[in-house]
Chain length 494, copies 2
């Protein structure tokens, strides 16, 4: 339990000066050492009672450290486009790269603290918010984003005194935000809510540090020391066993590539009639007024040459080019490697009324990265949970996600590879990588089956479609998109 | 003059098939060759009469070429955040990298064509739009973004026939956009407006190609051929002599580093009184309701160690961390090098109510890139115009830009370098680069003076401030920001 005391320690300027000088030099040294190592990013969360000098502390860190490698993550309503996205999107989107530092001001704790400080807080909402935060911080900590959280605290008396002093001159009055004026009246409630929140969300991998904020020197020195300690801290990852989230409920029976009828076929005549039919229905749905509120994500995975590209083209043909974006996912770039693997997908989220079509996806973590050893076993085992959480956050914010696996068998792949090699406009599709992956056929099969078992949740199931016949999956995919969207729009209207 | 004929050429499917097969193979080969060379990006503009099959042609190119290296740039209202930005921002923001292809659908021609097709078009508006387009295309062509523009045309009769055929079945009726229905009534006016627009905006470096669109085979083959020709085309840059824009009017006399009193000083007492005064005024302005509509750009250039960082910190101290972003500009990354040099700055534009503070800027093109030879003489000479156009586009969209040069003399720099080397928290600021740049002192001086002479325009002048005394420029910068903003807000309210 965090105690937020009603006493305000002090430190004279004379005593503070030499300490601060040492601190500044040490902070710079530690910052440069991490910039050089490029192993972990650091997020410094600045939170606390209004009127405790949080803004001044952001400025302080920028002055004491090299501000060119620090990015302040501070968002207000003006940031605009963030509203329609999941709550944590903006933080994901602006994560600092490995080696760099981010200062989070106006953090992901704001909604939780606001709820906790109400006269009659809703426990269910508090638990939901706390759980989302804990998952988020866990995922970051697991993926080389270190977190330290500073809580700026001062006594009720000191808060009032500081506010009054600032208000006494027009040159400083602007530092008092309207919120600070209201704080004093409900001070005790705010303080107790904070103590509870801190206790609930303190973790070894994302610790809270209380900064006494009444005295400027104490505040500055405490801030500097907390950040220095974080910069110097050895990597501590949350233990995988103590995972806060229970095993995800997976739809039973989960799909499996072993029990698939690869020879499911669709006759030419049927295809010729069904294709325009489903394309027409999709086209009308995508132009429906109600669809303007829905971000749609379509995920395509499958063996090489399973027909993902052709299937995607049958979908996009029904769409206005203004409303979709096809996103081919290949090996991560240098800057993507300097961030958690989910980062690049957070940045590609569609806004409402828009469709993002992923040709391969975040599931690469548990497929190619697992099979080729780019991710360690701990990493890819952990990824199932992280991915389930990612998708459920998107769904909670109103997004619709459909995941398709196009499945061909080994003989069919060989035949397609050979066809591609001799075709003047398909040969570009076949590379040495494809032949190399083929040698790992069984390992990929195992990875896919494990993936279905762990990530085909009732809320976001995998659609595994036999694709030896090219026509069958094209129609099946269109049909599932249409029926899912129709149900969703119906539900919204009703 | 472009003639848009009232005849519709045809081609049978039997005749077209072998041509198309050859075309597809050739397109892929050409696409791959450019992907490998990574010398130029290609933008394909798809424009034309509504109902001529533009959407189908976007789909065609994605099918015939490798869609994974093509990005469709198509924006509608849902893109949202684009509204408050300059009109061309969205295109800049999504430019394909060198080697890659972008298909522009719903292009920068839309407003011009709309105006030209009105019953009484405003000639002034047409000229303004045409000039902005011509500058934009020139700048892209100069900076390794090739452009080809396809105009889809068919006769009035064919347009009506095609629309009716699509409407006859619910499976195809969705392909008819509401706009297409209205087109036929004002067909002649639209056609003539298009012919005029094409003639006015045709250029060797951004040519128009008319695609006959009534017959599907002719349309497909013509589209493929035009794109193939563009992919194979040798680099043709617009000649620098035929620059369409006249010499910019520069405020006379332009500032110069030769005529500066480097020893301008501000007494300690004055500084201590003036700093909170101006910070307070800036703080209040930045929190003014009227400021929420203004994107503010502050540009800082100057000799190494001139005090840019310290000056910037005196500004940010008065601001809410949520409303500004400090952007340190250093050497371009790999992905930035694969785009025109202005690209990264277009991506960092502030939205209204936000402040972007550039610690070094796009002026690097005519400073470090000129002096160190990273840009050729042709390139940096051209950049003055490009930069003036960039800034005037921002200003036309409502942005306020303030450009500051902090000037120290050679002795002062030496002293500061030496101080930095022995200071425990300043030594990080001094690198071998700084000593190397110092050897080029006179070349940088010349580059700065040339820059002032060419880019200190009446609408966007340079503020050159003596900075041997650190206090003087801090106050001067704050004062100029405040007075400029006050005048702007006054003007808006009045």
């Amino acid at each position: 339990m965090f105690a937020l005391a009603e006493s305000d320690p002090g430190l004279s300027k004379k005593d503070a000066d030499p300490i601060e000088e040492q601190l500044r030099a040490a902070l710079l040294k530690a910052q440069y050492s991490r910039l050089k190592q490029k192993q972990r990013a650091l997020l410094i969360v600045i939170a606390g009672i209004d009127g405790a000098g949080k803004g001044a502390s952001v400025a302080l860190l920028n002055e004491w450290m090299d501000a060119r490698h620090i990015r302040t993550l501070a968002f207000d309503k003006a940031a605009g486009c963030g509203k329609a996205r999941p709550f944590l999107w903006r933080y994901w989107n602006h994560l600092p790269a490995k080696g760099k530092t981010g200062i989070v001001f106006g953090s992901w704790y704001a909604p939780l603290l606001k709820e906790a400080a109400r006269k009659k807080p809703k426990q269910k909402k508090i638990q939901r918010l706390a759980k989302a935060i804990s998952q988020f911080e866990r995922t970051l900590a697991q993926n080389d984003v270190q977190i330290v959280k500073l809580w700026y605290h001062l006594s009720k008396q000191a808060q009032q005194k500081r506010t009054e002093a600032l208000l006494s001159s027009p040159d400083t009055a602007w530092q008092v935000r309207p919120e600070s004026l209201k704080v004093n009246k409900k001070f005790v409630r705010l303080r107790d809510a904070a103590a509870l929140t801190l206790s609930q969300t303190h973790a070894d991998h994302a610790p809270w540090v209380v900064v006494p904020a009444a005295d400027t020197q104490v505040r500055d020195v405490s801030t500097g020391r907390a950040v220095l300690k974080a910069l110097r801290k050895q990597r501590t990852k949350p233990s995988d066993h103590a995972a806060s989230s229970p095993e995800p409920t997976v739809s039973r029976p989960a799909p499996s590539l072993d029990e698939l009828d690869y020879h499911t076929k669709l006759a030419d005549d049927d295809y010729d009639a069904l294709l325009p039919h489903w394309q027409g229905r999709l086209a009308r749905l995508a132009r429906d007024k109600a669809f303007e509120k829905i971000p749609l994500l379509l995920v395509f995975e499958g063996q090489d040459a399973a027909g993902k590209g052709g299937t995607i083209r049958r979908i996009t043909k029904a769409l206005d080019p203004r409303q979709f974006r096809a996103i081919p996912v290949s090996a991560p770039t240098e800057i993507e490697l300097a961030h958690p693997y989910l980062w690049r997908f957070w940045r590609d989220l569609p806004s409402p009324g828009q469709i993002a079509i992923f040709d391969r996806s975040w599931y690469g973590r548990v497929l190619v990265e697992r099979v080729e050893g780019y991710a360690s076993q701990t990493e890819w085992l952990r990824a199932y949970d992280e991915i389930n959480q990612f998708e459920s956050q998107l769904q909670n914010s109103g997004a619709v996600i459909l995941k398709f696996w196009l499945a061909i068998d080994k003989d069919e792949q060989l035949q397609r590879f050979r066809e591609r090699q001799v075709s003047p406009f398909k040969s570009f599709k076949i590379t040495p990588d494809d032949w190399r992956n083929r040698k790992q056929w069984d390992a990929y099969l195992q990875a896919a089956n494990d993936m279905f078992a762990r990530t085909s949740t009732p809320g976001c199931p995998w659609h595994v479609l036999p694709a030896n016949d090219k026509r069958h999956p094209r129609i099946a995919v269109l049909e599932r998109i249409v029926t899912t969207l129709e149900a969703k729009l119906e539900h919204q209207k009703g």
